[in-house]
Symmetry: C2
Subunit: 585 residues, 2 copies
């Protein structure tokens, strides 16, 4: 059996940065070659980043992607890496025009993969299964491919597949078996969700069994607006053995030797699954088999949920800040748990020198709101400031006749104006820190505490915010460092402090009661009856569901934030604002 | 040849209001019956409203739609309308489960139509072509139907189709010809776009020719978040003759007699276009042919573009306000053209008693900013107030060290806080009034002048804002009324008045230069080269495109507003915020 040394390049491209992304391919291919690799994989849409959304409709952009691909092939050869086959995702408009009754305006582009060798694009593949659920809109953009591409590499028949091809039965993996391939490559841009890594491995195992061949799975890493790609690249054999698995949330090069069956007589020329056909290519020569010990990529064990989420939030925020070239971030520090956790995430993401925290006390602010914020600043080393809001609040109250909730919201909005003024004056990105529970029930002030360009905890239920805080502090202790989050911020009852003695529990059920209802309603699409059958108090369910339904307009104008759940507010959950449907009739 | 009296009910349902929408069907069916109708049509998804978006994933909602349909059938019979066949759109989860490799999570619902008769659901049809472009995400929600439903009504074979079925060649209309039907019904929820009515009639003609039968086309009317359905219902014969056409933007009952061929021996049982099959039903009895003169629905001629857009904006705003049950609206009046036009739209939409206009002068405000706002208030009769912002601005300046753009934006944000305080105190919906040109280039203050729950001019280019103002004033003169918009607001050079002597032209090209570039880039997806080839100055193109690209984060948090163009900001145009692609490299 031939042995191939594979390199899985789990890298972090940036949407739209064709030159920069091509540069990543060149530098990581060099590293792979130095490690003796004979076949190198990069993620889905590596050259353009993912998702490029409506940039697909810009002909100039599609043309630039194609041009960048051919330039990359030439550059790799010029780099002395011509013999090394490199599989890379790119955006194409090529392929036979697929005319059907379902052809829709604007479609025609391809989510494509290419194998580059000796300065040429020697093979291409177009994604067959297109996801059009959750955050994905690929039926909007792409025409599905109907051809499985098989490339003979070092005497082994290797099939090319892209991401969603793996998530649906039938199609390319079944065809790969019919074509008798020895290896399937799967390149991905698979966004993180809590527990998704627990789904991925069994999924890859099922498809490896379906294909009757090992799968080399490489995933993107990095943040892109609300999405974080977590890596988790791996190689799994046909019998389900996990050979190697990369860590999550970091760029990583997996180099692993794989014994593979030599290609026989090509089969699979008759009628194949899903109406697909097979196109075969052969690469005449690859780098010589390396001498020395076999390469083993090793297996990284999964970490605890809290650690996983924390790293996702840190990476999501860091990439939003850095890819958009913000010098620093600013956020309000209330002494409460949400802003404390957001600040700790920010410090982990970009370092304390790039984080400004502002305490903005009012007449309703408790003493501990200031001392806890100050304690947080000391623990983390962020740039701490105090901007009392009472003079500005008073100037509004002196000139307008306001009462009740108008006065409460006024305080939050003055704080928003202060943060935006600091942003305009000093160039910071403003972070907003409303958790998912608050967003769900609309427990926030529009243009007040919701002001900000990014929300690190947007998709984090309040009960998970607390768990994250405890985990982060305990992790610091384990590493002999100062826990960043004041115990007092974790322990005290939540309050917006917009009126005397106000507590969240005046308006909302306890979060231990609230969050499970919200998880069922938002993440699970359960209706009233389903929630009541799950054991929740009908009166509480009715109250909560009504709050969620009537807060849609606030969410529509909310800042983006990192998705970590199976259904995040944003493109993952699309609901009308004007909507008279009420679960309680 | 039998004659059938058709009633096309161009009505205005509300998303989620199943009981209210069923009530509309009952009251309009009664009117249709009183006019002697023998077959009545209501729009696509009449019972649920359109689009219901992710409510499709709520089983409770789908079940409620099905229950409402069966209750409606019974209620119509109880109303004494049992013999009258009524075609109505609803949401279903029924039909043979369609299992394919492309089956995606969450899909399974049906965009359905039913014919109700004698208390029963006697026939159903599932939409075959699903739109997944522009504002539409139907591949996310629905499984396509593969069966054409033909119902024999009064001796005529009548085929049922839904909306997008009409916009694509092949499919139901070709199958209708193969099945030898005498009439095709087309029920729609087709959102307004400028000039779409010019596309619809030729389209209906093409499909009528394809089917070899007349088409009765009924469209929804009314506003739903960013969409406005414009009606424009019609009947067209197989040879392309327009028999009747309803007005746009108003509820309307079209009653029209149609001579149709008697059904012969059913054909079309072999292999049909697009893999569809045909299912046939027969309705045993319908109301007797009415005596007296033949009913003629008449033909409404299209109106001028400005009139069409104005009516769309008025209806879009009115329905957002009323369907969401706001008592009134409030907006800032700067004396400029955008707020003046928005105020005039608001007054036309909900009446002057429900519109509050607030002048919020600063030290940089011109004298005419106040006098022009006051003039507008007098002309329209809206509730006019003055809230000077300088005391609040000064309190921020006294407590923070701000300069330049931070001071400019501060003024806009203080105005935003004032409007939101009035909203909280008095219950108004806040209107924001940034036009599409401003939104495109980011010429606005986030959380400042962008504050608001709805934007009546969001999709209106600045040059069109001026045209609308002139049209509305001239129309008032034609009708012997006071022109609502001060001539001075139309004539003066645009300015944000946030610094001394500031004009839009300090920062932006003239709008006559800017708008055509924006239209090419935003609406047309032209790249830099395409725009330069169209004759635009390359330096201006580069500057404008960069402004558009870097303002994406502002648009992501912008208020919804009525779509009137082929590509509105919002769900129509989906671009990443984090995006390093620049057309000028």
């Amino acid at each position: 059996m031939p042995t191939l040394r594979l390199a899985l390049c789990q890298v972090n491209p940036t949407v739209g940065d064709l030159a920069g992304n091509a540069g990543l391919v060149r530098s990581w291919s060099r590293q792979a070659a130095d490690a003796g690799a004979q076949l190198v994989l990069f993620p889905e849409l590596m050259l353009t980043g993912y998702p490029v959304e409506d940039l697909v409709f810009r002909r100039s952009f599609v043309a630039a992607s194609r041009a960048a691909l051919h330039r990359l092939a030439a550059d790799l050869a010029a780099d002395g890496l011509g013999d090394l086959p490199v599989m890379v995702g790119y955006l194409d408009a090529d392929g036979p025009p697929q005319v059907s009754a379902d052809a829709q305006p604007g479609r025609g582009a391809r989510n494509a993969a290419a194998v580059l060798h000796r300065g040429e694009v020697v093979a291409t593949y177009f994604k067959h299964h297109l996801p059009n659920y959750g955050v994905f809109d690929e039926d909007r953009y792409f025409v599905p491919g109907d051809t499985l591409t098989v490339v003979r590499v070092g005497g082994v028949d290797v099939a090319l597949t892209i991401c969603e091809d793996l998530w649906q039965a039938g199609g390319p993996f079944a065809v790969a078996r019919e074509a008798g391939v020895g290896l399937v490559l799967s390149i991905n841009a698979s966004p993180y969700e809590l527990n998704k890594d627990d789904v991925r491995l069994p999924l890859v195992r099922r498809r490896a069994a379906e294909a009757g061949a090992p799968i080399a799975y490489v995933n993107m890493v990095g943040g892109q607006d609300e999405l974080v790609y977590d890596g988790d690249s791996m190689i799994v054999t046909a019998d389900g053995t996990l050979l190697t698995r990369a860590p999550q949330f970091v760029e990583h090069l997996v180099v692993h030797d794989l014994e593979l069956p030599a290609a026989g007589t090509p089969g699979g020329t008759g009628a194949l699954t899903d109406g697909m056909r097979v196109v075969r290519h052969e690469i005449p020569a690859i780098p010589a088999a390396p001498t020395g010990p076999a390469a083993d990529g090793g297996i990284i064990e999964p970490v605890a949920d809290e650690a996983e989420v924390w790293h996702a939030l840190v990476l999501g925020l860091r990439d939003y800040v850095d890819k958009n070239r913000f010098p620093s971030v600013v956020l309000g520090l209330s002494g409460g748990i949400d802003s404390a956790v957001a600040a700790a995430i920010a410090v982990d993401a970009v370092g304390p020198d790039r984080v400004v925290g502002v305490s903005m006390p009012s007449q309703h602010s408790s003493e501990h709101s200031r001392t806890d914020a100050e304690d947080l600043a000391k623990r983390t080393g962020l740039d701490y400031r105090i901007e009392p809001i009472q003079p500005m609040v008073d100037s509004f109250l002196a000139n307008m006749s306001l009462s009740g909730v108008a006065v409460e919201n006024l305080q939050a909005r003055v704080r928003g104006v202060i943060l935006m003024a600091l942003s305009n004056q000093e160039g910071h990105l403003v972070l907003t820190t409303g958790n998912k529970s608050e967003l769900a029930v609309g427990y926030s002030t529009l243009y007040g505490d919701s002001v900000g360009g990014y929300n690190p905890v947007k998709d984090v239920w309040k009960t998970l915010v607390w768990r994250l805080a405890k985990w982060r502090n305990a992790d610091a202790v384990r590493r002999g460092q100062t826990p960043p989050i004041p115990e007092n911020s974790i322990g005290k009852p939540p309050s917006a402090e917009l009126s005397p003695g106000q507590l969240d529990s005046d308006t909302l059920p306890d979060y231990d009661v609230l969050d499970p209802i919200l998880i069922g309603y938002v993440d699970g699409d359960l209706g009233r009856d389903g929630l009541v059958e799950s054991g929740h108090d009908p009166a509480v369910v009715d109250k909560v569901l009504r709050m969620v339904d009537t807060a849609e307009y606030k969410r529509r104008q909310s800042a983006p934030g990192t998705k970590i759940s199976m259904k995040a507010f944003g493109r993952d959950r699309r609901l009308p604002i004007t909507n008279r449907w009420r679960e309680d009739g």
